[in-house]
């Protein structure tokens, strides 16, 4: 194969050090890779694409012609994380999710953190993501974010940062699992040489986690996965998780509420449902309480939920904690609730709602990444350094007209991993989304979804913006 070149800009290369030497944790893999002919690797790549399409691991792109299904490109070269790095990440993730969960509970109960002056009242109560319906509602085991996806990036000389917390309906875990299956199939000899920790037990952990939060004491709680339906971009994942857990995949029309219980319609009559792993946003869950035009939800669900007779995972109202304007308070939440110092750092963030910070952002926009507070999926953001003058000026106008809607962060030189591109193998920027399960204890699987920006120099890894994925190998001790 072509020898990988170090990244041209000052980004941390996960595989090669500054002198172009292979880092110790990549050596076994790199040795194996150097013995593979370019043809053999190209054949593997073709096989990967074919089999992803055959298995139907596709997603539909928003705004694209209806029914168009696309593959997310899969790159063979894994992101490898050494044992000690993972240990620290793991501890940091668990700490962060524990604090976030306590924050949500607090926000919907006594508001201690507001009264202590750590988080301003307007940040919480004037936020569109605050759900007054949830005030003083008790949820099973006080757990709100049962499934969290925390986006981690590595920048500068190799420091980890949390880029954002995803506490509503984080997706992508099926790719983590399918990517592993694929790389084990296509590069089985490499697994013989590298000690990779497994991730395939994630669905079992998830099912355990969901059963733990059932509202009634029963030996056999009924868990279902609620999907918006087969035209949702993440439908494959919903079906995949339901199948892997051995539970029903339901749509809103399959559920109904009667006498303060939720039932599903089966061929043998109604069956009571205890836990709903919902992949439908808050707004669409119950047309009686939220959006009346939603056909995806279940009329009356909210009242059953508030009465504590069904568990929703994740809970309603978690958006208050993963909102981009709340993000900057997370380190203080960790200090406040856990009396610990945060293990994982935040990216410095300017809030455009503050006049002094707004003027800084406007003056330096060409250097910054500017994001919408409620945006997701890489839409509605500006990457200053890779934008034209006109784009920057136009974005300034948008920020000026609604400053509270935006935050800004320095443009991080995300770390890179060698990646197959048309011209051979070249460094491409990556991020990492590990999944954190929050039940009676907090659990992770060693790994996550590694997304890679396939376009040279691009820092946007979202699949909707032309990103691909890699398998993530966490090494055993």
């Amino acid at each position: 194969m072509q020898h990988p070149q170090p990244a041209p800009i000052a980004a941390y290369d996960e595989m090669l050090d500054a002198r172009g030497e292979v880092r110790p944790h990549y050596q076994a893999f790199s040795q194996w890779l150097s013995q593979q002919s370019a043809d053999a690797m190209a054949a593997r790549q073709i096989e990967a694409d074919l089999s992803f399409r055959r298995v139907g691991i596709t997603f539909s792109v928003a705004g694209d012609e209806a029914g168009t299904e696309r593959l997310i490109p899969f790159d063979l070269i894994p992101r490898i994380i050494p044992a000690d790095e993972w240990q620290r990440l793991d501890a940091g993730l668990k700490q962060r999710v524990r604090a976030l969960n306590m924050f949500i509970h607090d926000i919907y109960h006594g508001h201690d953190i507001v009264r202590a002056g750590v988080v301003p009242a307007e940040q919480v109560f004037l936020n569109a993501q605050y759900r007054p319906e949830m005030q003083d509602v008790d949820v099973a085991e006080d757990i709100y974010c049962h499934i969290a996806g925390v986006d981690i990036v590595r920048a500068g000389a190799g420091e980890f940062y949390v880029l954002e917390d995803n506490l509503r309906v984080p997706s992508g875990v099926s790719y983590m699992l399918e990517n592993r299956k694929m790389s084990m199939r296509l590069m089985s000899e490499a697994f013989g040489r590298v000690n990779v920790r497994p991730v395939a037990h994630y669905p079992d952990l998830l099912l355990d986690n969901l059963r733990e939060v059932a509202p009634r004491s029963t030996d056999d709680p009924t868990v279902v996965v609620l999907t918006p339906g087969m035209y949702n971009s993440a439908y494959f994942e919903h079906a995949f998780l339901a199948q892997q857990m051995g539970v029903e995949l339901v749509e809103g029309q399959d559920l109904f509420v009667e006498q303060n219980n939720v039932y599903m319609r089966t061929t043998r009559g109604p069956r009571r449902v205890d836990v709903i792993y919902r992949r439908v946003d808050d707004d669409f869950l119950d047309p009686l309480s939220f959006r009346a035009d939603s056909a995806l939800g279940v009329p009356g669900l909210l009242s059953v939920y508030r009465a504590g007779r069904v568990t929703l995972a994740n809970a309603i109202g978690t958006g208050i904690a993963d909102d981009k304007s709340t993000y900057q308070y997370v380190p203080d939440m960790i200090r406040f609730y856990l009396q610990e110092e945060p293990i994982l750092a935040n990216v410095p963030t300017w809030r455009c709602s503050r006049p002094d910070e707004l003027s800084h952002v406007l003056a330096h926009m060409h250097e910054l990444v500017v994001k919408e507070v409620h945006g997701a999926g890489g839409y509605g953001m500006l990457v200053g350094p890779s934008s034209t003058r006109a784009q920057v000026e136009a974005f300034k106008e948008r920020v000026r007209s609604r400053p509270a809607n935006y935050i800004a962060q320095p443009t991080l030189a995300l770390s890179t991993v060698p990646t197959y591109v048309e011209s051979g193998v070249a460094p491409r920027h990556v991020d990492l989304r590990p999944y954190v399960l929050c039940g009676k204890e907090i659990r992770t699987v060693p790994g996550g979804l590694c997304r890679v920006a396939l376009i040279e120099g691009s820092l946007v890894v979202n699949s909707s913006q032309g990103g691909g994925t890699k398998d993530t190998w966490v090494l055993g001790d």
Binding site: V55, G56, G229, Q243, E248, V250, T266
Partner: protein, 313 residues
């Protein structure tokens, strides 16, 4: 099992079965049209294809005349024709996709790969270049879909609903095929020499020619063809075999609402099981088959109501 899931499974199987039957019918017609015959007979053959599936109106709205090429196009590629191979395989795959969690990976992949390959074959003009090869491909994809289903699925409700769809559709399709071919024989006064080929073609279309030889060891006569395709329990595509399987599947999924449906299926089964071909022919085969199709249709509706359509609480 979720009612909606059962509904998707039921239709998934019906559609692949229908795609197969469309391919069988077109294949036989194609072979028949190679026989020496006059233009009117040939056109009649192709009109019959449309007649079997009650598609004359849809066809006439799109094409000025019945020509082999246009009928093939309509029955193979036309998305708006619910019996076209394209529409059936697409619907089968869409139904499979909606319940992929209830299918084994192999079953889902078979349906998905069939759909993907179909698109490639259509793009490569396979049905036009080499129709026989294309129909063979459709048949074998259906064989594969059934084999993978039986070979990998747990024998539970999901499988029972799959088989319900398959057998209901098969009973319907065999009855239609028989009806049209016998109807042709009534109106057609052409030389008796063509008789042999007519019945041979009908038998081939249900993979029954070798079976006929094996069972009767004699010349092909219309009443035996009718007997084989209606009353033989060991002929896999016969009406009796399909209804017998259907009745068994219904008993296995039985619920509090389904007693009447089971009774009607059982009655139909008993009539076929103890029926005699002389009696059927005496009363008129066409009338018999029409009544049979009505009853199959009624069973389909009742199955939907008892099991599949989401019930109000």
């Amino acid at each position: 099992m979720l009612s909606r899931t059962a509904d998707n499974l039921f239709w998934m199987c019906r559609y692949i079965e229908r795609a197969e039957n469309t391919a069988r019918m077109l294949d036989v017609n194609l072979q028949m049209s190679l026989m020496p015959q006059d233009a009117a007979t040939r056109d009649g053959l192709w009109r019959a294809v449309l007649h079997i599936s009650e598609l004359q109106h849809g066809y006439d709205a799109r094409y000025p005349a019945v020509t082999p090429l246009d009928v093939l196009h309509y029955m193979v590629r036309e998305p708006a024709n619910p019996s076209s191979i394209y529409a059936c395989l697409r619907a089968a795959r869409e139904n499979a996709r909606a319940v992929r969690g209830s299918l084994t990976t192999e079953v889902w992949e078979t349906y998905n790969a069939t759909w993907l390959e179909l698109q490639r074959h259509l793009q490569d003009q396979l049905p036009e270049r080499s129709p026989g090869k294309f129909f063979e491909w459709v048949k074998f994809r259906a064989h594969l879909a059934r084999g993978v289903t039986i070979g990998t699925m747990l024998e539970d409700e999901a499988l029972h609903f799959l088989r319900l769809g398959m057998h209901l559709e098969r009973a319907d399709n065999t009855a239609r095929l028989l009806d049209v071919k016998f109807h042709e024989a009534d109106v057609d006064t052409a030389a008796r020499a063509s008789e042999f080929y007519r019945w041979a073609a009908l038998l081939s279309s249900v993979s029954g020619l070798e079976i006929y030889r094996k069972v009767y060891r004699d010349v092909i006569t219309p009443d035996r063809v009718a007997e084989l395709l209606i009353l033989r329990p060991d002929m896999p595509r016969s009406l009796l075999a399909s209804v017998q399987a259907l009745t068994g599947d219904l008993e296995r999924v039985s619920n509090q609402r389904s007693a009447e449906t089971e009774r009607r299926a059982g009655l139909l089964h008993a009539e076929l099981r103890y029926g005699r071909v002389e009696d059927i022919l005496r009363g008129g085969l066409h009338r018999y088959l029409e009544r049979f199709l009505d009853r199959i249709n009624d069973l389909g509706n009742r199955i939907s109501q008892d099991f599949l359509v989401p019930l109000a609480a």
